[in-house]
């Protein structure tokens, strides 16, 4: 991605997310599978931009890579809990934390990513893939609702969407190592 492209995306996405937030939160599918990833993605774009302007951030990322990684992993995993999805609708403090912590998770993930060893990155990719499959499967077949604010149909639809994400992501990973000319390290 070129910097211009990143800038354009960022400038476009921020208002889109803010304006659409109410609408995205009306369904479990768009709340969890669209809004939350977008928040992380915006943070990631932002960090990419910052890095090109301030090389010192690269040094920072190198030095604190483990803490940054842990922060983003804990934050992202917490936001997979159905409980927080509900809470973000009824408790303004939690809603505020959502808008703060997820972009930050995107930022810290990008800052540390390039300093992580190949094997660790591989494990993270696979774990993300496995998590999509696990959650997708659970949502698809759970007889009861995990969120009080959304119906069971919505939950099953989310399950389908997460499995779809997993399929696309899995194909992407497979093709990049099977065909890709990219070299490790």
């Amino acid at each position: 991605m070129t910097d211009n492209f990143r800038q354009a995306m960022f400038v476009m996405l921020v208002p889109v997310i803010i304006i659409s937030h109410h609408w995205l939160e009306t369904s479990m599918t768009s709340h969890m599978a669209v809004q939350l990833p977008l928040l992380v993605f915006v943070g990631a774009l932002f960090a990419g931009l910052l890095q090109t302007y301030s090389p010192r951030l690269v040094v920072f990322g190198q030095r604190y890579r483990i803490s940054l990684l842990l922060y983003s992993l804990f934050t992202i995993s917490l936001w997979m809990l159905p409980r927080l999805l509900d809470a973000a609708l009824y408790q303004s403090s939690i809603a505020f934390l959502k808008w703060l912590s997820l972009p930050l998770a995107g930022i810290s993930l990008v800052l540390c990513w390039r300093h992580l060893p190949f094997v660790l990155r591989g494990i993270l990719h696979l774990e993300l893939l496995a998590t999509l499959l696990r959650l997708g499967w659970l949502y698809l077949i759970a007889p009861q609702r995990y969120c009080v604010s959304y119906g069971i149909n919505d939950q099953q639809q989310l399950g389908h969407v997460l499995l779809g994400y997993a399929a696309v992501y899995g194909l992407f990973l497979a093709s990049s190592v099977l065909l890709g000319g990219r070299r490790a390290n």
């Binding site: 803490s67 842990l70 804990f74 159905p82 809470a87 604010s149 069971i152």
Partner: protein, 207 residues
Amino acid sequence: MTVVAVSLGLLAWWQTTQGFRAFTWESYRRLKIASHPLAVPNVLLQDQFGHLLDLNSLRGKVLVINFIYTRCPTICGYTGLNLSRLQRMLLQRSFQDRVRLLSISLDPHFDTPQKLKAYMLRFSNQLKTSWQAVRPVKPLQGQEMQHQLGVVSIPDGIGGFTHNAATHLVDQKGYLVRIIDEDNLKLTIDIIARMLLAAKTGINHDG
């Protein structure tokens, strides 16, 4: 540094999940209430005969509260059945004067006293008992109460609601002390018995 980060992360998880026990809103709400009883706000209600009553006027009795709406094609019928069975169990133990069962409507516009009466008649042929079906007179007040208790009802797209069904137990001082599964009648009656005993022996329940 890493250790600090890991501990902070685990702490955040611990906090949000009440010690890795609650992953959903419903289980969180139940655990939270069990450790932090909540004063139930006063609501003006109208019962199946059309009589008005303040929720606060029931202080001194143990309240068993369920949320229903009479058009409900599924769960609420089961709720009513459970309440009528619970009523019988209370009679067996002669608890009936010290306990009040309340089915509070989630759909106060539609659920007029006639509708509430019809709902109750589906489960029992007696209406003048310790069980009352009620609707909030001011819908906003009702919503505020649901919000504070953590009860959420959402339109199900076919004219009804989807809501978290549970039995809410309120003690004699007006505090919500436990939320449990509706069909767990044995646990319900056990907790009621304990609350009544505590009142008799003067043990302070929420202290």
